[in-house]
């Protein structure tokens, strides 16, 4: 009941005219980012983060989260119209969305995608409203060992659920930890890993890394591929929208299943991309139209889009209540909160009620505003794709440079951004995942602090991480997540052996 009262207060905050304007601006910018190849939710938020420095924290986070919703919506547009996934989580949408567009059903496909996205996000926001305060209250019992255990679980889940080879994920993650360790040690106040360079005293800011790795890295990759945009027209009129909406309720089971998959994958930090693939795969296996998947089946659009949005939204739950982001974009948002002096975690719900509930209310409104905007503006967004890459690319590069410079007003950061861009290109080409690297840069300091404080309390004994049922359970879950591929392979082999016997 208290949550509902808080939520109504939140709506009062989110419905302030300035916040509504910021919401609409954020959604529009987000959709543009989602549509543009080379820009994603994480780096879109990172690049535009400096724009919000002069705003009050609540308005700033509303704008950033709306950029995030917008990017989630925008990814579907290019996937369906041009078979170019603007975002990694939109890859599964291309499987059936593009064939539908080729069959002249682009409007149906887009309507299904946007509506499913909205349903997935709504489900996740309701879940956050009901569960977040409980999770936060539970997390108040956390000491340094429990905190480290949660970080451990987050990082292990990345290793276990990543589609890249586990040792590559570990290497990428450890590079992130090492970069986070550069500069002043927060506990002893001693300098480390600076090798005499004064520019490295402050360490590496995650924003610079994100803009370089994602923004520049993607453009370099795109330059190699030589993207060839094929323009197309996308008309959506009210009749098509209404007709598609009438047909959607028959797929309620697919939607519900995708919502649950998405929420689970979002809360554990697997993220929207594996959620969309998993949801598509299960829908294909379970659906009675499974054989038509890949040929233009509307269910093949509903499943990944619902799951991706549910995952993208629910990824904010662990960020708000535990201070552990469930996705790279949530990691960037977490960085934003820290910049404004807000400490995400259980105390946020006690100390910054207005902020938290304003944000949660804006999730409801932001997604509704997003749905209306994308349904009405598809032809305009599609027109952006007809702007040739040789115009868009330098504009993105200049925006990246501005974003990197604005973080600390330092040209050294712009140089580092370029270095990270080249590193991002090389790592991506060599199949190293970048999300764990960014997550480790963002969380490295905190994980290290929790680890060292735990060891200090136990006089150096690692037994502290198994000293009570709570911390032991989280650590064991972490270990299961870490060795998940080995465990699942073993189980599959056992099942085959039983079947043959």
């Amino acid at each position: 009941m208290e949550e509902l009262v808080n939520l109504f207060h939140g709506f009062a905050v989110a419905l302030e005219p300035f916040n509504i304007a910021v919401m609409i601006l954020g959604i529009v910018l987000g959709v543009i980012i989602g549509v543009l190849p080379g820009l994603g939710g994480a780096n879109g938020v990172a690049i535009l983060l400096p724009l919000t420095f002069s705003m009050p924290p609540t308005s700033a986070i509303i704008m950033l989260s709306c950029i995030y919703w917008g990017a989630l919506f925008g990814g579907a547009i290019t996937s369906i119209l041009f078979n170019i996934p603007g975002e990694p989580w939109s890859v599964a949408t291309t499987f059936d969305g593009y064939p539908m567009a080729q069959q002249g059903k682009a409007a149906e496909s887009l309507t299904a995608a946007f509506t499913s996205s909205f349903v997935g996000a709504l489900f996740a926001v309701i879940m956050i409203t009901l569960v977040a305060p409980l999770v936060a209250g539970f997390a108040l019992r956390f000491g340094p060992a429990e905190k480290f255990a949660v970080y451990f679980l987050a990082f292990c889940s990345f290793v276990g659920l990543s589609k890249e080879p586990p040792f590559k994920t570990i290497a990428a993650m450890m590079i992130g930890f090492a970069l986070a360790a550069v500069g002043l040690d927060s506990i002893t106040g001693q300098l480390r890993l600076t090798f005499g360079f004064t520019e490295m005293l402050n360490g590496f800011d995650f924003l610079i890394a994100v803009i370089g790795l994602f923004g520049l890295g993607e453009i370099f990759l795109t330059m190699e591929e030589g993207l060839n945009f094929r323009g197309g027209k996308a008309k959506i009129d009210l009749r098509v929208v209404l007709r598609t909406w009438m047909s959607l309720p028959q797929y309620w089971m697919t939607s519900l299943r995708s919502c649950i998959i998405g929420c689970w994958m979002g809360v554990t930090p697997a993220g929207a991309t594996p959620a969309s693939f998993m949801s598509y795969g299960i829908a294909k296996r379970v659906s009675k139209n499974g054989k038509n998947f890949g040929k233009g089946e509307i269910e093949g659009v509903i499943a990944p889009e619902t799951a991706a949005h549910a995952a993208g939204t629910s990824a904010l739950l662990p960020m708000l209540s535990l201070g552990v982001p469930g996705s790279p974009t949530a990691a960037v948002l977490l960085g934003g909160l820290l910049i404004w002096g807000l400490q995400p975690g259980p105390m946020l719900f006690v100390e910054q009620k207005e902020f938290v509930w304003g944000l949660i209310a804006s999730m409801y409104l932001g997604n509704l505003v997003g749905l209306i905007i994308v349904l009405t503006c598809v032809p305009i967004f599609a027109a952006i794709l007809r702007v040739p890459f040789s115009i868009i690319a330098p504009l993105i590069l200049v925006l990246c440079a501005i974003g990197a410079y604005s973080v600390h007003n330092s040209t050294f950061d712009v140089v580092m951004m370029l270095v990270f861009g080249v590193i991002g290109y090389a790592l991506k080409k060599c199949n190293y995942p970048l999300a764990p690297l960014v997550l480790a840069i963002v969380l490295g300091d905190k994980a290290e602090e929790a680890f060292r404080q735990s060891l200090l309390g136990s006089q150096g004994s690692l037994g502290i991480f198994f000293s009570n049922p709570l911390v032991s359970t989280i650590m064991i879950l972490g270990l299961i997540a870490l060795f998940w591929s080995v465990i699942s392979n073993g189980l599959a082999r056992l099942r085959t052996r039983t079947a043959t016997a």
């Binding site: 420095f53 002069s54 330059m223 030589g226 090389a426 190293y432």
Partner: protein, 165 residues
């Protein structure tokens, strides 16, 4: 025949990946070295500053060795990229490097103008009026949004000084 041809048109994926993995391993070694210098033992305030990064460095080295072993064991001879593709990438990387290096001297606005103009004219082969419109328009819009609206100062050079901005 095709395989031989592909070998002559660009570096193999295996070779580049081995190189990248080795560089990551060396980075790990650098982290270990830096951590030892900062101290990796137990001090008065618990573990010293280099304690945590030392083990991180070790993890980097170990995972790089495993990755290198896996890379060398692979039998495919796929291309990392064709020389032409790499040339395309460098045609952006090098000018971006020049753009970044020139920022402190000529300011962001002039550098961005030249960079956008070069990109559109050289790679896009656009005619001068379009090039001029976009390369002048973008810095003006940037100035209005960042400096006027959001009060975010960006690096300026002699031209901005001359214009009194």
């Amino acid at each position: 025949m095709t395989t031989q041809h592909s070998h002559t048109t660009g570096p193999t994926h295996k070779a580049v990946e081995a190189g990248v993995t080795t560089v990551i391993g060396l980075f790990g070694a650098l982290v270990v070295y830096g951590s030892i210098k900062a101290g990796i033992n137990w001090g008065a305030e618990g573990p010293k500053a280099g304690f945590f990064p030392f083990y991180i460095g070790l993890f980097i080295i170990i995972s790089s060795l495993v990755n290198l072993f896996n890379t060398l064991r692979e039998e495919d001879d796929l291309l990392f990229a064709e020389w032409g593709q790499l040339g395309q990438v460098f045609s952006v990387v090098i000018p971006t490097g020049i753009y970044v290096a020139s920022l402190p001297f000529i300011g962001l606005y002039v550098a961005s103008m030249i960079f956008i103009a070069w990109f559109m004219r050289w790679l896009g082969k656009y005619n001068w009026p379009i090039v001029a419109a976009i390369s002048l328009g973008m810095p003006i819009v940037t100035y209005l949004i960042f400096e006027r609206w959001f009060l975010v100062p960006l690096p300026k050079g002699p031209v901005e000084e001359l214009l009194g901005l």
